[in-house]
Amino acid sequence: MTFPVLLGVTLLTFFVMRVMPGDAATAIVTAGGQGVAREGDLARVRAELGLDKPLHVQYGEWIWGLARLDLGRSWHSGRPIVEEIKLRFPVTFELAVLTALTSVLIAIPVGVISALRRDTLTDHVARVVSVFGLTLPSFWTGTLILFFLVTWFNWFPPMGFVGPFEDPVANIQQIMWPALAVGYYLSAYLARMTRATMLEVMRQDYIRTAWSKGLRERVIVVRHAMKNMLLPVVTLAGIQVAVALEGSVVAESIFMLPGMGLALVSAIQERDYPVIQTFMLLLAIVVMSVNLLVDITYGWLDPRIRYN
């Protein structure tokens, strides 16, 4: 079922690349515009990169390479793409997971409070604060965060990204801020979902009855409601991981994280086709896998919620 989609993804990235104006061979031969592209050199480099073969042959070679798990080399650095992925994917993944976590930690309290105090001032304030996150592009939030950290607290995250297993303290100091910048943006949607789901749960008759009975019962009701609501919301948070991936493109640049987002942006600018194709494919696979997981989980949980 997902295979044709994957195929479509590969086709899309591959052929879209080739339509792009600009040629990696020119960049290599002119060494980034610092030299002159001579006709002979250009032809030689294009042959080296395989750009002179017909499109479908290039496509076929790529797919065949993928099947053998040979991901090729970057045209810009000459290094095997597998190495790049091993280095960069964990960074982006960690960022995406922490971003999703942050957005959940912000969204759920806000959504629950908003639902419990529906249409009151608290609700309105909470919703405004929550929606505010949506109105700021994450690059702006990120820039502001760094700016205030430096000018108000004279503090800056430690230089030189380290993984969470190397030095957890430094890692958290580096990654919490981009997670916050993007997480705040994502939390708005999740908060809205939380509120809506909470309202739906709260609407049920026996819940309403329990609620009217008094404070002690209310606590139990809230706990019960949250238990029921948590699952669908958390599965939705799973989707956030996929969405968080796109936030990483911007956050990695501002917060100096050596992740896939940044590498992809550079690759697009350099017309480094192997990297663009492979990274986009990988990102698409991750997104699809997460979506699939969420779809399955949600479907499995659905009858239970309705029953409750």
Binding site: T30, V45, L146, V150, F156
Partner: protein
Amino acid sequence: MAALLMMATAACAPAAAPAPSSASAPRAEAPSAAPSPRPAQASTGAPPPAAQATRVPQPQVAATPTRVATPVPAVQPGEKPVYGGTLTIAHRTEPATLNPFKEPSITTHHVTFPIYEYVLRRDPLDPWNKIVPDLAESWEVSPDGRVYTFRLRKNVQWQDGKPFSAEDVAFFLKTKANPPSTRIALAAYYRSITKVEIVDPYTVRATLERPDSVFLMHVSESRQPITPAHLMKDANGKYTDKVLDVRAIGTGPFKLKDWRHGVSVVLEKNPQYRIKGLPYLDGITYYIIPDRSTQFAAFRSGRVDLTSVGGGTYLTPPELKIVKEQLTGKASIYLVKTALQYAVRFNPALKPFDDLRVRRAVHLATNRQAALDLLADGIGVMGGAIYPSPWSMPQSEVIKMPGFRQPKDQDVAEAKKLMAEAGYASGTDFILAVRQPDQKEGEWLQNEMSKIGLRAKLRVLPLTAYYDSSSKHEFPAYFQLLSMPTGHPDDIAEYYTSSGQVYSQIADPKVDALFDKVAQTVNEADARKLSAALDHYLSVEQVLGVVIAHPDGYRAAWNRVRNLHLDGAGQLDSQRYEDTWKTGE
């Protein structure tokens, strides 16, 4: 040539012992105390030896005074260097490779400068005038200007323990003269070499086809470090670049410790460096910081000692203001003579720039002073096709010429007249291609050109698309950022001569002839005069492009970093930090 010969012999003269001496002269083994730092001013003690060997720190000031930099805290006489510490430097882009033999991009070179050395080196403080010895102790040029002999230092080691010898330099010259692959940095510099001989284990002789007034400047250009021959040959003796892509083995004061992709390039001290007692620092770390505001924030917080170098990474006017006003006494700014040019290049095969009158109109109307003020905060110089250097038109004359002079009323009126004569009294539209990073400058130029009726539509292209497009001569005009590594017209020959492929569509025999003559004139003074005439022809008469400004840049460093010979250095001038130290942490 005679002047160079004199400088060469002077360099061999033994340096007076305690007085300031050139970094390249071998130091006597000082048993106990660390060698005294070369003070910023030639202060006490014996008079400095030959002019060429002394570090005179005044920045090379072109005739047009630029904004005066805040005085950089000079090393005080009696101040003792401190051993230890790591210098942290911001770096904009992850280098694609660490191989300086194959990669001309300064992204690679800036992180490898401390690792490698050159045959000859441009004096970082007087790069346009002085060449100093580096791995070669001395050199000679034959009277006909075709034979160059380099005498190399003995007892120098590569960082992997193997000895350095003429073999390495000979391999370097031979390979660049006959490049076995397309990916060799600036091989064009050596195209006129016909023969390379190893005269003895420490002497190399190169013979050129014709005299080349720029040969020594090319050899000493900062992107020509000597790399170990034994690591550039594979098992069959064929050239390979694979080893040096990831291993950096040089003769310089620092060695490569670690390259963390996308994060940092870490160098550590080379204890076997040929100058005993140096370097003072334990290491240098370059942090990759892609975003400009983030770079400044990192610097400001103290996590980074020195901001980066390279077009697009210099301090912006607001950042300069902050350093000058809020960090007075704690950090300083350093002027970098970038030898960059903002220019617009015309495609003389397409309208409206097929008409010389239109091109001249742009030249006359462009407000270069405003360009400097708005695009470079007044930092930089005005000039023509050749960066103001000993090879260009004299600056004092340039600022009085039409097109450059202030006020502009007369020139703008003249420009409008020319436009009308060419048939464009009501103006015309055209496409101006701009590289993505230069959008702001392109915007300004668009506004400027609209004043004489040339209405530009900006086409923003990412770098690869831009170079592709320009080599296909697609659009009538291209906004361009160029740099001139040596200040010699050879740097821009490819853009103007008919054999060059980049932008020129006119085969103008006069241009070709002038370029050739400059290259082959042996007498330097004569060559410079010819070059000035060439500059005039290109900038004012033929007008294949209009150079808008030569912006310079600023870097900032915390004052705890001592003895940084940066102020007034060129963008492409290598900084090795061999005699730099840090106080406190």
